[in-house]
């Protein structure tokens, strides 16, 4: 550098120090001006987001999209996630790493590098509403088309299919020859076929209908249905009769498949409702069926399990994903201990007086409810659903199964078979069955009946607690959780046959399925009433439930 300066000096020896100064100045200033004019334009447009109204913001986002700047995607993503702020002092716009951190760590929107920190009071959020979120999602989806991850590409194409416009169609057409993944290719073909429905050539339209025939998507069906719509003046939206016919055929074909899948969906709903019923009933089946104790506090034991989940999530806030897995044994222990405590202090004095246990456990349920209210407050508590349990499993366009219900069904079956295993194959299970069948004999054989009683009650209560963990994912966690389920749990146990676990399983599942089958026709309330009336009539036909205890019980005197 010195060399050039010397050369410059030699050449300019007759030019004057002004030219040197100018050159030096340029040497210094040029490196500082590293921002290109593109960056500047981007920043200016970005800055307009600060004061704009929601309506104007949509236009600004369009403009930003058109700049082609590499920062568009991260800025859009940040805005979508409420992470775009501006600094009050100098009005500069920043992306923020996490919106609820204190202090906020800033990222420069152009360089995408760390730009220091700021306190939340010194920053103002740039807000969005639903319409803007829509625009942002479609914008981001367009970027998603070129992502290396196939599932991201699939989601992007699906997002674009929701609102096809010319630019989206152009992008899809570009992408199709490059696409290797078959699922994504199919989606793109669907999108292009939908676009082709507007083509002036009837042959192209016919081809498009043929492509769309196997789709199960509601969007596609709507579009095809629009073709066969009759205008008020007698003409059809689709002029060519062959295309119309093909479209009508395609719609009928789609509807048949869609109603088939809808039936499967209803069946699944029934299974999931039934699995909840089974879960809340099997704990009761043990305490009631095996021990003859009418436990009105069963619902509150479930509530304890749900609150245990809440507490576990409080203790491990960063690990919500495994919090449920930790909560299950924790809830079992907590509710089980509560049950054992109840048994040792109250219930063991009431054996042989089952209807007194109703009274005493009712008192305990009131105390537990108030206890929870005093410790946690009367408000509902927020239990977060872990990511692996949220969302749904998409089997095809017509059938989506929500994960939390799916896991509940699986969970119920696991718990049920575990319980069966414990009762049939373990020593403690053998003891429990022995004591329930003939207490005196069991005692004579050396079994510590009091200890077994406590364990049995603890087992049933523990299962109730575990049911509470499942319930925490499906409904409110509050002091009234128990009251909502207690009547249903008794109904299931009685329907299945008191003391019979298989009865509770089959009973609960069938009640759930019947309820869900009726619901679309009769509405939720009438469906429930119908199930109750059917239950009453059923018990009158089979007074001992589905699977009555074989042999004559000690009723005969």
């Amino acid at each position: 550098m010195l060399g050039t300066k010397l050369q410059v000096r030699k050449r300019l020896s007759s030019g004057g120090p002004w030219r040197l100064a100018l050159l030096l100045a340029l040497c210094v200033v040029i490196p500082l001006r590293s921002q290109s004019p593109k960056d500047a334009a981007f920043l200016v447009t970005l800055g307009q987001l600060r004061e704009a109204s929601y309506a104007d913001k949509a236009g600004i986002l369009e403009k930003l999209g058109q700049t082609g700047h590499p920062s568009i995607r991260p800025v859009f993503q940040a805005l979508l996630e409420d992470r775009l702020f501006y600094r009050n002092s100098d009005q500069k716009v920043f992306i923020v790493k996490a919106a609820d951190a204190v202090p906020l760590s800033l990222i420069d929107p152009i360089t995408l590098k760390n730009a220091g920190t700021a306190s939340p009071d010194g920053m103002t959020e740039i807000g969005v509403n639903n319409a803007l979120r829509r625009v942002l999602q479609i914008g981001i989806a367009r970027f998603g088309l070129s992502s290396p991850d196939a599932s991201v590409r699939l989601d992007a194409v699906r997002q674009m299919l929701h609102s096809l416009d010319d630019s989206s169609i152009a992008l899809l057409r570009e992408r199709l020859p490059l696409e290797k993944n078959s699922a994504v290719k199919k989606e793109i073909a669907t999108g292009l076929a939908l676009a082709a429905l507007d083509n002036s050539d009837p042959k192209a339209r016919l081809e498009a209908v043929a492509t769309l025939r196997d789709s199960l998507s509601q969007d596609v069906r709507n579009r095809l249905a629009a073709l066969v719509v009759k205008n008020p003046d007698g003409t059809f939206a689709e002029s060519d009769p062959k295309v119309r016919q093909a479209a009508a055929d395609a719609i009928a074909h789609m509807d048949r498949w869609r109603s088939f899948y809808s039936g499967i969906e209803t069946l699944f709903f029934g299974l999931s409702v039934g699995s909840v019923l089974v879960l809340i009933a099997i704990g009761l089946a043990i305490t009631f069926g095996v021990m003859g104790v009418i436990n009105m506090a069963h619902g509150e034991l479930m509530m304890l399990g749900a609150y245990t989940t809440y507490v576990v999530q409080l203790i491990m806030p960063g690990h919500i994903g495994i919090s449920i897995l930790v909560a299950i044994p924790a809830a079992f222990v907590v509710a089980g201990l509560a049950g054992v405590l109840m048994e040792r202090t109250i219930i063991r004095y009431l054996y042989g007086r089952p209807l007194e246990t109703l009274l005493a456990t009712f008192g305990v349920s009131l105390i537990l409810q108030q206890g929870v209210r005093s410790i946690f407050s009367a408000l509902n508590r927020a239990v977060i659903t872990p990511d692996w349990m949220s969302g749904s499993l998409r089997l095809n366009d017509a059938l989506e199964i929500t994960y939390n219900r799916l896991y509940t069904v699986v969970f119920t079956l696991i718990i049920f078979f575990l319980l069966l295993l414990v009762l049939k194959r373990t020593r403690i299970g053998l003891d429990i069955r022995a004591v329930s069948q003939n207490r005196a004999m069991a005692k004579a054989m050396g079994i510590r009946t009091e200890w077994v009683d406590a364990m049995t009650f603890g087992l049933g209560s523990g299962i109730a607690g575990v049911a509470g963990v499942a319930l925490s994912q499906l409904t409110n966690v509050g002091p009234n959780l128990g009251q909502d389920y207690i009547v249903d749990s008794f109904l299931v146990v009685v329907f299945g046959g008191v003391g019979n676990l298989w009865g509770s399983l089959i009973g609960g599942t069938s009640l759930g399925i019947v309820n869900q089958l009726l619901e679309p026709y009769a509405g939720a309330v009438l469906a429930k009433i119908f199930v109750l009336v059917a239950l009453i009539l059923f018990i009158q036909a089979r007074p001992r439930g589905l699977f009555p205890q074989a042999g004559r019980a000690s009723e005969d005197k």
Binding site: D82, F269, L379, A382, T385, P479, Q516, G523
Partner: protein, 429 residues
């Protein structure tokens, strides 16, 4: 010995019953009754309101009380049981002889205490949004009437969001039924076709939302922008929103606007999947005014918990309490009769920078806000009414009520039929 033990138990019972009767006499205090459920299903919502009034009473006592006397709260628990509400109301008015009662939440509880208040000439401040179709001399309605909540929300969806298809989803009781009736009439008036409106009711505490949400999804995929107007009550909201999230119905696809979901309900929910769904209220905790900031600070200090939220019914009690204090000072006495006469026309500042004024129909003026749920459980205001909206007890969209008006100042009648010129129903004294 036997004779004496005979009479022991019945004797005790009788004395007990009579004892229930004897009122404690205290002349140098003013008693304020609080009639909110502290147990049972409604405790979730109502316990906070009890604490709000306790806070306002403590504040007022710091300022020297009222008319030189200390304010003493009398708290009872009607346990979400409607006949117990009537009993506790009678206990407050006749046994404890309170000067005013702040209470009730559900319309059933209000309807069951109404005869008690009208017979004993008490004064009730009712802070919750409700269905209208009522105006009693003994009640001041500081919550929203349908025209201060439901109608503006529907307007916003129609005009700003461009909604063409509507799902009116409610719990099966009178507030959703009335609101939906009004909304249906309003939508018809605005040209929405019957096949673009779907009305559905579910029972209290309903938690198996799968089938219903799937049906909403289907209804909303017909190609026109669809929205859900939700009058689902309290507890059933949690499983409803969870199911919406699981079936991936985002607010951008099918927005849900709720009238019974506020900051407190959101605090019991995982709000991440709900971002963008809407609520219509007359107050949001996120509204940035000095009065609101001061209220929130005061609340956090009183309840000793910085994470507790504030919500619209709390603001309604704030307004109601201040109105009562002003009315007592104006009338110079706590006698409910005189205070009731002094109330219409009184004004007090609300927490969002405006004024709440008592109207002759015993409703107040309130601003309307539409907010979108944020991930932190607060609301982002996306629309605000240009000024305060006066509460209308008798909806102009229902054939049975549009001819009825309430005016306790000139007409001295709660439901005066303008056509037949007759005053019927609740017209006491």
């Amino acid at each position: 010995m036997k004779c004496k033990s005979w009479l022991a138990v019945p004797g005790l019972l009788l004395t007990g019953m009579l004892f229930a009767n004897v009122a404690a006499a205290q002349d140098n205090v003013i008693k304020v009754g609080i009639l909110h459920s502290l147990s049972g299903t409604m405790a979730i919502s109502e316990t906070t309101l009890k604490d709000t009034i306790l806070m306002m009473i403590a504040e007022q006592n710091k300022k020297g009380g009222l008319l030189g006397k200390k304010l003493v709260p009398v708290v009872v628990d009607p346990a979400s049981n409607w006949p117990l509400f009537a009993e506790k109301a009678a206990e407050l008015l006749e046994k404890d002889k309170v000067a005013v009662v702040f209470g009730c939440w559900t319309s059933v509880s209000r309807k069951s205490v109404l005869p008690v208040f009208e017979k004993d000439d008490g004064l009730l401040f009712y802070p919750v949004q409700y269905e209208g179709e009522e105006s009693s001399r003994n009640v001041i309605y500081t919550g929203a009437a349908p025209n201060q909540q439901a109608i503006p929300a529907v307007d916003y969806l129609m005009k700003e969001v461009g909604v063409k298809r509507w799902v009116l989803e409610g719990t099966d009781y009178v507030y959703p039924r009335t609101t939906n009736k009004i909304l249906e009439a309003y939508l018809h008036l605005k040209g929405v076709k019957p096949e673009d409106i779907s009305i559905n009711y579910t029972p209290f505490g309903y938690s198996d939302w799968q089938a219903r949400v799937a049906a909403i999804k289907r209804f909303g995929s017909a190609g026109k922008k669809t929205a859900v107007v939700s009058t689902i009550n309290g507890d059933a909201n949690v499983p409803f929103y969870k199911e919406l999230a699981n079936q991936k119905i985002s607010a951008e696809d099918i927005p849900v606007v709720a009238f019974s979901v506020g900051e407190e309900e959101l605090s019991g929910l995982d709000t991440k999947p709900l971002v963008g769904h809407l609520a219509a209220w007359n107050y949001f905790e996120s509204i940035n005014t000095p009065a609101n900031k001061a209220f929130i600070t005061q609340w956090h200090a009183f309840i000793k918990n910085n994470k507790r939220t504030t919500n619209d019914p709390m603001e309604a009690h704030y307004i109601g309490f201040n109105l009562w204090v002003k009315a007592v000072q104006k009338a110079g006495t706590t006698s409910p009769d005189k205070v009731i006469d002094a109330l219409p026309g009184l004004e007090t500042p609300n927490l969002t920078g405006g004024m709440a004024k008592v109207l002759p129909n015993h409703h107040i003026t309130k601003p309307v806000y539409i907010g979108e749920v944020r991930a932190d459980g607060q609301f982002n205001v996306v629309w605000k009414s240009p000024g305060e909206v006066p509460g209308d007890a008798w909806s102009d969209y229902l054939p049975g009520s549009k001819d009825i008006e309430a005016d306790w100042v000139h007409l001295k009648c709660g439901n005066y039929n303008k056509i037949t010129k007759k005053c019927s129903g609740q017209n006491y004294k």
